[in-house]
Symmetry: C2
DNA sequence: CAATAAATAAATCCAATTGAATTATTAATT
DNA sequence: AATTAATAATTCAATTGGATTTATTTATTG
């Protein structure tokens, strides 16, 4: 009954535990430094004494660590806080200019390259639209783009670039026709290893993650994450995708596709079973517009700048909300998420209407016994994917997403 | 857009990070000791050099740690392994008698008390059936039972008892009538804190966990866990319940009910929407038997000893398999589980037929785009809940479920 | 006997803690 | 207004304790 009946009949079980799990002083210091930076990031600004209280470390230890971090330029001291008994505390905050990171969002209709600083602000960006993406064009965009953006930095700033994080869809060759690519044009992507190809042309560490997962990560770090320890996330782009946050950490799963939620079966308008992505994707809206003779191109110029497309958009929002509501109930039946977060490559006013419609549709469903999550808007917006991508190099090097000492980095790194 | 626009407009975000997250030497040693024990447990037997390689620690460190653990009686040395060049290695394994632990499974129809050893073998057990559980009877059963079992141990053995782990259903008062309890009889449970009440009467640390989650934990540790890093688990008791394993660790969620899966909506025989627990629970079979004038009592005498109930059981297995198949597809759409594990309070031959029927039913569903998990039988069996309960004190004190240094224990401990 | 691997003893290193001292402030009292 | 007490932040110096490094011993194969 048990697999532990003794050493003799053990058929050498596979190694599941992290093989490099041991702890020592060097790793402890590295971990504590990341912990300090992460606490400062989470709270915006904290004094040494604050950090000592929150980390459980001694004041002396924190003092030493933070002095080092300040000397390295990662932390800046703010104005002393007076008004309370005792020596005034000196809040320390992240130096926004201490670290920069590139984020590349590559999509089915457009690509974005952003330069993000240490506190998550976008400092520069480039945007490009296309009918469909081709490897050599993407490569050219990212290499020339990085060159251009780096050209606007001085030597010192360039030395502070932590790397490039790519947010890209998996299996681009699927559904190529639905987005209007010529048959077979996307097949080239089957043999492309974007991470390796870009790493060969860029003098920085390169990271890669699914685009929706990246957006979810941005929401976790810069959006509603601090208020919700776990949530299911939907990002409506030309295709809908998603992500899952558990215990304040991205859960990407064995195959990296956890929370993909695109293929989730939902009941369509006429009672037929459809996949979520066949309803709640912007390409569907695009096709609806085209059918009615409306030019859909403005969808891709700038996500923050849609015009009101009237009836067809109204109809798309309704369908999308119905499908999202069902997906949320299904997810909530498996895991007791505290929130369902909805964002997308569209303006805030569209997002707001999608969310409200989803709340209304969810109320119509049978919720007996289900712990329903709060259905809320994402706080990051259309650039979430690029921001999430740009976060990858920073987190890999300076921050910790959880209080885990020796977690294996689940996104491979190439230098 | 970002929540990090500066310290001035931060409304003090809630503390999500573990407040006691700092690392120091004492904790490092405690962690490394647990890591060594966990590696030995996982592999059955390992030499010091093996542990050094697998943990990444230096040979000397491992040597010191394991000598201490051997001195404390937790590890035993096996026969030297010769046949290879160099000094023969000495495999070390857990001393089964180093630690004992009580496990109490309290259900709607029966209770079990087991004494488990350090390697997960049941050494003694008591069983009791009832029409429905009442607090004072459970308390009497556990206190007298522990007294009786401890009486069979000598003084030295008694001193090695790590604690008592309780596996019990949440919200016992729900569905009371369906299992034949008189209306209102289960209401008393609303005000009972079983953990506290038992802790007051038992001289050991007491832990509490949902019964299905406990069974899932037993499967993770003593069953298929070593072969599958993540799986969704179903335990068919008088009510069906479940659990979720992610990254080789139990995920119990914010409210402790993740993977409860009982209220999952599924389509019933006649196309109507039902909750999973209304179909795939043993109480349903019990009622079917009673309707046909068959005495259902043998269901509860011993889970390993059912008679073949013929047609009604056949019909129940079919219904159950249909519902389980739908639940598995729903779960797989959210998380890319590598397996769906089915076990229950019934004999292995029933489990085997349920699993085969579920595999057949799943094949009939639309699986387009879904990463389907392997549907397999649980390896632990009917006692999984009690074993999982008994594991709680052992894990809390001696082992680590993941390579997480300072995880907060998610089951409260009372001494 | 040479090569190899396991195991361990001794010395060294390093980061966290402890305890005491310093500094800067507010609060209370004269 | 001046003085004293209390409090809190920060840091210096000494200590602690566990991991690593280096070197040695032991046991085996070929």
């Amino acid at each position: 009954m048990s697999s532990l009946d003794g050493p003799e009949n053990m058929p050498a079980p596979p190694p599941i535990l992290n093989p490099a799990g041991g702890a020592n002083q060097v790793r402890v210091r590295a971990y504590n430094e990341r912990l300090v930076l992460s606490l400062v990031r989470l709270y915006g600004a904290l004094s040494k004494a604050d950090i000592a209280r929150r980390s459980g470390l001694s004041a002396q230890t924190v003092s030493v660590i933070m002095r080092v971090l300040e000397k390295e330029g990662l932390l800046l001291r703010g104005d002393p806080v007076r008004g309370r008994v005792g020596q005034p505390s000196i809040p320390m905050h992240l130096n926004p200019d201490a670290v920069y990171s590139f984020g590349l969002k590559m999509g089915r209709r457009s690509a974005d390259l952003v330069l993000m600083d240490f506190v998550g602000r976008i400092r520069m960006q480039l945007h490009r639209t296309y009918a469909y993406p081709l490897p050599h064009e993407i490569l050219a965009f990212v290499t020339s783009g990085i060159q251009e953006l780096e050209g606007r930095l001085d030597e010192k700033q360039r030395s502070r670039i932590a790397g490039l994080g790519i947010a890209a869809p998996f299996e681009l060759w699927n559904w190529a026709e639905e987005v209007g690519a010529p048959a077979g044009a996307m097949e080239v992507w089957r043999d492309v290893d974007l991470q390796t190809d870009i790493a060969a042309r860029v003098p920085h560490p390169v990271f890669l993650q699914n685009d929706a997962t990246s957006a979810c990560g941005a929401e976790l770090v810069f959006g509603v994450g601090p208020s919700y320890p776990d949530f299911v996330y939907f990002f409506i782009g030309s295709f809908i995708g998603g992500g899952i946050v558990l215990n304040s950490a991205i859960f990407s799963g064995r195959t990296g596709t956890a929370g993909a939620i695109g293929p989730l079966p939902v009941r369509g308008k006429n009672g037929e079973t459809k996949q979520l992505l066949e309803i709640a994707s912007i390409f569907v809206l695009e096709n609806m517009l085209r059918e009615r003779g409306i030019d859909p191109e403005p969808l891709w110029y700038s996500a923050d700048d849609w015009v009101d497309f009237g009836e067809p958009m109204e109809s798309w929002i309704q369908d999308t909300a119905k499908a999202l509501a069902q997906a949320i109930v299904a997810a909530a039946s498996i895991v007791d998420f505290s929130a369902a977060v909805i964002d997308g490559g569209f303006p805030a006013w569209v997002r707001s209407r999608v969310v409200q419609a989803t709340i209304d549709e969810a109320a119509k469903l049978d919720l007996q016994g289900v712990v329903m999550p709060e259905i809320i808007e994402g706080a990051v917006g259309a650039q979430a994917r690029a921001i999430g991508g740009a976060s990858l190099p920073i987190f890999a090097r300076y921050l910790t997403d959880q209080n885990v000492l020796f977690k294996e980095v689940d996104h491979a790194e190439r230098t």
